[in-house]
Symmetry: C2
Subunit: 337 residues, 2 copies
């Protein structure tokens, strides 16, 4: 297929053009023996035990942004959801919904960046699907990824496992992804270059689990930001979480952009960060393992799990006051991921 | 949530309204202990061995049609893809892309029909995702499902396993789904009531595998119809397939509608039928097991695998001529599934 070609409805027909698209565009991107069988379903061997399974659809706008694109996002997002359960991500599915008229060249760019993210994460894309809708039926390109991973013995990570006394670790700066997207979308230019943090975190999680399996809860603060993630854990575990504002790392330019736009950085999406609730006595060890990894070098303890006010997240502000940190209400940034 | 409510962008924010939608609408539909943990990733135990993994997105228009809706279609489609690999479908993910303004009542109808199809198929929805795009960003509702199943020992089913001498079994009438959709979409009315055949086929496949594991290839002829499915198998296995037109079951009203619309019934989509390539000496036994099942009562041998012209599908017509059956070229019915 030529790059200047455009996707037609017949590319989603299940007939000849669908097969052309699969064999000439998709297969070369994700070549592996399971996918190459071209059956509708991937079949593979896995050791018995605990499996992790997750899915996410991606509708980000714009499709290409500073620091990534919808392809990298879709690949990393599902890898990260698996990793947050402690699983080693193994196999991914990829499903495209494409608007008629979409440029094949743009599809190839997206596939390239999915492939390089898959290589970085060490996962295989083993099955997929393509649907084409008429012009105006969808906005360009939507991607769904689902993933299967293996949970190693000993790991027992869930949002409902946080206990009083545990420490809260954040792997790095917040708000980078959301601000990168909004600034591109609105054509804002800031003095510095704000990039999405979009990255696969399974390598970082692997290093953490080598040090200790006493990671109780772990989650990537994507949509809804750090505030929503902490609230989810507080609610699922029925504990209170206290964080210290001054400990939460944030780039100066991201902070400035949030001030300008009236956003609370705690509600802005991240795509390459994680929050871990860990046993207090293991916190330092886990932290130092994280700091050796490229995606954890700014990791820091930002708070702890306390007894009073179960289900609440409280923040000690820089000026010494305490405020309730609520889940995002409403929607400040639609189509962030 | 009230039925008359409409979906807002904030229902996809990852914040408070997302959680409301999950707890009040999605959870009650698919209640099970794995989903109720509310982690981003489902974790479950499976015995070791061969696993099957598949995905499909659904963009059917209209969302509700005679014999089913997008929910039943999305549930059955992934169950069927798993079943076609010989796997016992176990766990499903469900991901929604919803257009802002979509009626909550319609979403609940779709969820109801997903739940009843999941119950019929004996599968659990264990993880999910919801994205909302602005009005005009998508056409109503798109659904992606992915699924994990267990492949029983002995089953070795792939489009590339057909051998010369094998028989081709079709489980019932062709074209029902496609004609049901097009007649609804175009407001055509036929004298009789043409319903989509949308159904979960894992029960039928289970009965077939009880009789014999010598099922070489199996596929559900959805998009692209029976013609594309037979061509895929012929090409993957590098064999020729001969079918006899007079053996292929088709309802009289579906045949009439195809004539009127200028469609070749071999290219029209099915959503509750399967094609199986089986060892010749087991064909009768498998057939009689199929005929005892509600979704296989019209099963019939429609052809055989032969040596000459590898990669080709040939049909002996009712008048005694032989014609090449090609894959669908172009697109006769966009958004059929």
């Amino acid at each position: 297929m030529k790059k200047q070609e455009r996707i037609m409805l017949a590319h989603g027909s299940g007939g000849k053009l669908s097969h052309d698209l699969i064999s000439k565009v998709f297969l070369p991107s994700f070549t592996n023996p399971i996918l190459e069988k071209l059956d509708d379903t991937a079949v593979f061997d896995l050791q018995g035990g605990r499996l992790a399974f997750t899915t996410d659809s991606y509708v980000v706008s714009p499709l290409f942004f500073n620091g990534g694109d919808i392809g990298r996002l879709a690949l990393c997002g599902t890898v990260n959801d698996l990793a947050m359960s402690g699983a080693v991500p193994r196999f991914l599915s990829v499903a495209f919904i494409i608007e008629e008229g979409f440029l094949v060249e743009d599809l190839m760019r997206v596939l390239d960046s999915m492939r390089s993210a898959a290589d970085e994460a060490g996962v295989a894309v083993v099955t997929g699907d393509t649907k084409v809708v008429e012009k105006g039926g969808a906005d360009g390109l939507f991607i769904n990824t689902a993933g299967v991973g293996e949970v190693p013995a000993g790991a027992n990570i869930s949002g409902s496992n946080a206990r009083v006394g545990d420490k809260i670790i954040l792997s790095g700066t917040i708000g980078d992804h959301g601000i990168a997207i909004i600034s591109q979308r609105e054509g804002l230019s800031f003095e510095t270059d704000i990039k999405s943090d979009c990255a696969p975190l399974n390598g970082l999680v692997g290093e953490m689990l080598k040090v200790s399996t006493e990671i109780r809860a772990m989650r990537d603060p994507t949509r809804g930001g750090l505030a929503s993630t902490l609230n989810e854990i507080a609610s699922q575990s029925q504990v209170a979480i206290h964080v210290w504002e001054e400990k939460i790392p944030i780039r100066e330019d991201v902070f400035g952009a949030c001030e300008m736009l009236g956003f609370d950085p705690l509600h802005v999406a991240n795509e390459g960060k994680l929050v871990a609730v860990v046993a207090a006595e293991k916190a330092e060890e886990i932290l130092s393992a994280m700091r050796k990894h490229r995606y954890g070098k700014d990791a820091v303890v930002i708070g702890e799990v306390v007894e009073s006010h179960p289900g609440r997240v409280l923040m000690k502000t820089a000026v010494g006051a305490t405020r309730i940190v609520d889940m995002l209400v409403g929607e400040q940034l639609p189509r962030i991921c």
